[in-house]
Symmetry: none
Subunit: 187 residues, 4 copies
DNA sequence: AATGAATGAGGATTCATTCAT
DNA sequence: TATGAATGAATCCTCATTCAT
């Protein structure tokens, strides 16, 4: 009844990518096998290699999607800055909300880093993502500071997922404000 | 006390752990299977389960070794502070040397984080490591700052392994000095 | 007459056959799959079954081409016999040049034989080829000898491709001359 | 009932080799897959790679067995020469019986040649076999003739399996006797 | 205490072929 | 007529783990 025969399925590629991301988040990249992803996306195993000739192609596409989505959120939060608000508050918000509500994406990022430190293709993927993020930050902050802000954010978010202590927003705010002293703000 | 070690091949356990770490660094945690590790350590496959009943036990032991070694280095650098030197310079040094010379350990850490975000056992392992590191930092810096310093370091080292840009020690120093303003230094 | 050939890509069928032969020579008959041949001939996979409904049809066509080409060369060498030359020299020449310069065709023949000993269709293909070859030999040699000459040639060429020893033309000549004593020559 | 659990099975390796040869003879080397051989030998699929880490190792072992067995028969026939018998008769016998009764081995040889012309490992296997065969022939015939005798035999046997014509023992005898003129006989 | 042998499940791919467009 | 997409079966091989010795 659930479509033993399937003629065409235009969103199949997307479904596979979504399913892959879910599985990576749940069981790590090694858990996103052709088999498990095919089952989760309700796609015959034999058709997987048509869309992604190699398992690596599939993972790469999935992580590219992750990077695109994450950056979009990042950029949106930095873009909608109301008149008169201190942009550093947005950085604080990014760190805290990421630490709190985006567990899945955090897990996926950790997995991506583990691949990236060993494989150029994933490294390049992150580099592209990083550059876009820094571009977004440069709307409000000077270019020389932007890489450091990004690194601080990375470290804080990562540790927040490891640590048992609750998130202390004041501590985050203090760190961000120290790293970006007032006169650094562009606008 | 020495009861755990076999008489015929007393360093076997150690050899296995070293081989496991090498293989994880080269091919990721999934690449360190009983088989590959046994071959690399020149140990019969059938004897692996004697030393590590489960593959996970082996990985855990390997990462524990990593944490111990890393922390020892970390602590040593912070301990040997000559009279009159600014301890923040030691933090700068930690970041830069880690970024430059310890590629293997950085790769292993990334792998460990990827496991930790999904599995408590690895998370607890990192927590222990993190606590010891913070203890070392508290020799010189106030307790409220120490977690942030650690996070900044983490982010900077991680990004240095992804980025193509050369390490800019001045940028690092500026970040560290801003995060830890002079009056914060204990001694 | 030209009705079988497509207008848009008139040599496609030929290109496929050539690509198939190359792939068989390089990786054996099992290596000449629809996919590999399509890629090598730069033809869309989906169009393969139009030209050759079955993979076996494709292989058969390829080997037929091999037989035709090989026999043409064989026949040409035996046909152009200058007045007064001993035709046995031509047999020697056939063996030696085949052993030396026609590696690809030798490899293909071996593959064809492996198929032929189990499958009638390939066996019939070789029979046709063998009969034509014997016809060519009968220009110069009596019918009762012709099968034996052919067999000797086959064995010598085959062994020359296996053996590490260099080709000894004198040894070949002696064998041929003994097998075909002078009075056997027709002309 | 047929032994779901099997503790030890000392002849497993031999059984696998026998099954592999049968399957190669029936369906060609590509038909002797781990799966088909495991089923034919009544061995769990997962244990195949313990005995033969690579499918190629399995095939090589099977063909080595073929070569050993074939040469043993070859050598036996040439060894038991009664006083006063012309050894050339033994060569005739070898060719004829091989052509007639040893279909399976002939098929296997053809398959082996197809592998050998492309792969050194199989080529070396045949070289070893060829050298032993020539050693056997040198009991009765001069060294310079022995390679040619072997080649003639090879070609005649091969063609006999392709041709539709019945085996003509007189034709074979004539060929052998011409190739080995009486004074060549050693004893 | 130590290990060679075994095993069933699952790994990534490749395949010949079909079919809707 | 031509082909991109699809599919189920099969490919080789690896795996963690068990167990008899």
């Amino acid at each position: 009844m659930t479509g033993r025969v399937r003629r065409s399925d235009p969103h199949r590629r997307e479904r596979i990518i979504e399913a892959a991301l879910d599985l990576i988040a749940q069981h790590g990249a090694p858990g996103a096998t052709y088999r498990t992803v095919a089952a989760a996306a309700d796609v015959p195993l034999g058709s997987m290699t048509y869309h992604f000739p190699t398992r690596d192609d599939m993972l790469l596409a999935a992580f590219q999607r992750l990077a695109d989505d994450q950056w979009a959120r990042f950029d949106r939060i930095l873009a909608e800055l109301p008149e008169g608000e201190d942009p550093r508050e947005r950085v604080v918000q990014l760190i805290v909300t990421h630490g709190e509500g985006y567990g899945r994406d955090m897990i996926l990022s950790a997995e991506l880093y583990a691949l990236a430190v060993r494989d150029v293709r994933y490294r390049e993927l992150i580099q592209g993502w990083m550059n876009r993020s820094r571009g977004s930050l440069e709307r409000h902050f000077p270019a020389e500071l932007v890489a450091t802000i990004d690194a601080l954010q990375e470290g804080l978010v990562l540790h927040s997922h490891i640590s048992t202590e609750p998130f202390d927003i004041e501590r985050i705010r203090q760190a961000v404000y120290r790293l970006i002293p007032e006169p650094s703000i562009l606008r």
